[in-house]
């Protein structure tokens, strides 16, 4: 599912356009209108495929300023081109540049419409983000300020999310969540273990996150270690609640078999396959879906065998009892860029973040965990404002995930 929610545009290059972006970064000129003082006429040309520069915008003082701003996107024959510029345009044509748009006396704040810009920008950002140029950084900040981000979303709008369950047959429960280009897999394994001496009446849950080098070359060897531990602790803080177990998203006492002697040890393993920002939300959603897909085998205990030693437990591998995931919270990360904050930031937008707050919200609207990462200080009132926004967005995400889980279970039944 390509998740291409934007209108298909005849001109648009697909995102997977010219396969090999050249080694040096394909920087594209910033089309942010605030740079254009008085744009009378704008001709936009698309580069020939192999050219490093993806597109070229030529500004002309219009021969005679036409009253109504005309804006055409089909194949353009510049009708009223000032004489001096005909030579330039025709020579561009010979070099393989194809005119893509013409706009005469555009409004002062020229913001080329999204679907079209996707044609310009879509293929222009190239695969590897080899450091953003100053123009691109301003382009991103400007977009967020106008509630119109580079890939067409509003500030509080998620990328297309796709969920699969049961991707790892050998695990008790597993899920794969794709959030735009971010792709994570979570697997849940239950093994028999001994409860913690301080909390004999509860099972144990351990969360380990691993950043695979396939996501980014810097995760090679021990490179991904620091980010992995940070993600693991943030998730533990959001899902396991206070030390006494109150407010835990996962009901630990349901993991108990024999108090003080035998319980289930739940190992939650996350793997980041491809990272394009917003890893924490994707992982939390994947954990929630994996838990709903998890089946803990039924257990029969015969205590009579050895009263003091380990009671022998036989695990039946037919009937499984489903996990109750209603209490599991979802994590919403609000990233502050400039004066506004956005949801589900891509890695480019995350590079522009001044601070980020990850808030985990459960079904009753209570906050089960909160982590403010990122440097710049925030006014306390802004944080409270963010919490209310996160609760509102959290509900939408929660309902979206529930429908995905239901759909996945339905498809699992009929297989």
């Amino acid at each position: 599912m390509d998740g291409q929610s934007l209108p298909r545009n005849p001109l648009a290059y697909p995102p997977a356009s010219p396969r090999r972006s050249l080694p040096f970064s394909s920087s594209r000129p910033p089309l942010h209108s605030s740079l254009l003082p008085y744009p009378d006429e704008v001709f936009i040309f698309l580069a020939p495929t192999a050219h490093p520069l993806r597109c070229l915008a030529l500004w002309f003082p219009a021969a005679q300023p036409s009253a109504a701003p005309t804006y055409s996107r089909q194949r353009v024959a510049p009708p009223l081109l000032p004489s001096g510029y005909c030579g330039l345009v025709s020579s561009l044509r010979r070099l393989g540049w194809r005119p893509a748009a013409y706009c005469s006396s555009p409004p002062s704040r020229l913001r080329i419409s999204l679907s079209h810009r996707r044609a310009l920008v879509g293929s222009a950002t190239g695969k590897r983000m080899v450091g953003l140029s100053e123009g691109e950084k301003r382009f991103i900040r400007g977009g967020i300020a106008q509630d119109l981000r580079t890939d067409g979303r509003q500030r509080l709008h998620y990328r297309p999310i796709s969920v699969e369950t049961g991707v790892i047959p050998q695990a008790n429960g597993s899920a794969r969540v794709r959030l735009g280009a971010t792709d994570v897999i979570v697997s849940i394994k239950a093994e028999l273990g001994k409860p913690h001496p301080l909390q004999p009446d509860k099972g144990k849950v351990a969360i380990f996150i691993d950043c695979s080098p396939t996501a980014a070359p810097m995760f090679e060897g021990r490179g991904g270690e620091e980010l992995s531990t940070e993600l693991s602790f943030a998730l533990q803080r959001c899902l396991l609640g206070g030390r006494s177990g109150a407010g835990a998203g996962i009901d630990l006492s349901s993991l108990l078999i024999v108090e003080g002697k035998v319980c289930w040890d739940l190992y939650i393993d996350g793997l980041v396959v491809s990272s394009d920002g917003n890893l924490l939300d994707a992982l939390a959603a994947a954990i929630k879906v994996a838990l709903s897909n998890a089946g803990i085998p039924k257990v029969t205990v015969n205590l009579g065998a050895s009263p003091n030693g380990q009671p022998d437990v036989d695990v039946s591998d037919e009937e499984f009892l489903q996990f109750d995931t209603s209490g599991v919270p979802v994590v919403v990360t609000l990233t502050k860029v400039g004066k506004h904050y956005i949801v589900d930031a891509t890695s480019e937008e995350e590079s522009q973040m001044s601070s980020a707050v990850s808030i985990s919200v459960n079904r009753h609207g209570h906050i089960c965990g909160l982590t403010k990462r990122g440097g710049a200080g925030l006014d306390p009132s802004v944080i409270l404002d963010m919490i209310s926004v996160a609760k509102h967005v959290g509900e939408q995400l929660m309902s979206l995930l529930d429908s995905e889980i239901a759909a996945a279970e339905a498809s699992a039944e009929d297989q």
Binding site: G241, R243, L378
Partner: protein, 255 residues
């Protein structure tokens, strides 16, 4: 100004485990006094001193009740070879526990995330542009863990940075609060931390009234978060007063 600590920490020996279960039941009722006699909204007496280690560019020693921490700051000095070029300065934090700091010997290793949390708390307050391409190293050592370790480490580290002459937007004060059912208990000891329902830790720049770090676990409603934040912010400003007087006394003492 610096009162010597009067509280004692309940040792965690094995026979006290039953007392811990019994005490956990006790915490649930509404009115009870805390083990060291403080009321809910009273912090432990804070003892702060700068210039604790003369080998470092700047250092500080902090004692909050039973929690004793010493922080030394080195730098700004040359970054390690492997580092990439960076236009602004770099902060490198490391928190370590002595083996005898925790009641059960050797438990210090399960606070591995404190180093990155300390880094996130301080990076918002330091003006990194004033020492480009170099690194400031902050090494925190917990001599005794009496509960609420991270807030004490952050407060003491910010004092050490000021003592080292590193340019900062503001001092950084940090306070944590634990919640038991309905009531909020400020500046918890390790014994209270062991059976808390949830905790909220705020790190803020008191003069500019900005929060640089906030972590929260357990189940909270927005109203309770608001109340806890008010409590912590005003505790931070009181703590900042003590830090400023300690710095001024050190400055007037030595010059």
């Amino acid at each position: 100004m610096a009162t010597n600590p009067s509280t004692y920490a309940l040792s965690q020996s094995s026979d006290s485990k039953q007392r811990l279960q019994q005490r956990r039941g006790l915490f649930q009722e509404t009115e009870w006094t805390r083990s060291d006699g403080r009321n809910f909204h009273q912090c432990r007496p804070a003892f702060l001193r700068t210039g604790a280690a003369n080998a470092a560019s700047g250092s500080a020693y902090a004692e909050f009740g039973a929690t004793k921490v010493i922080v030394s700051v080195f730098g700004p000095r040359e970054s390690k070879k492997a580092m990439m070029y960076s236009g602004t300065g770099r902060l490198n934090c490391n928190v370590s526990y002595t083996t005898f700091s925790t009641p059960v010997r050797g438990q210090g290793s399960d606070h591995k995330e404190y180093s990155s949390l300390l880094h996130k708390a301080l990076e918002g307050a330091i003006i990194l542009e004033t020492f480009p391409k170099t690194t400031v190293d902050v090494f925190a050592l917990v001599l005794e863990s009496g509960g609420g370790d991270l807030p004490v480490i952050i407060t003491c580290a910010s004092l050490a940075l000021a003592d080292a002459g590193i340019m900062m937007y503001d001092l950084v004060a940090s306070v944590s609060v634990s919640c038991f059912g309905r009531n909020l208990v400020i500046d918890p000891t390790s014994e209270e931390e062991a059976c808390q329902d949830g905790t909220l830790m705020i790190t803020c720049m008191p003069a500019r009234n900005e929060v640089t770090q906030l972590t929260l676990t357990g189940e909270w409603t927005t109203a309770k978060i608001n109340e806890a934040m008010e409590l912590c912010l005003d505790a931070c400003s009181k703590l900042a007063e003590i830090m400023r007087s300690c710095l001024k006394e050190a400055a007037s003492g030595s010059s």
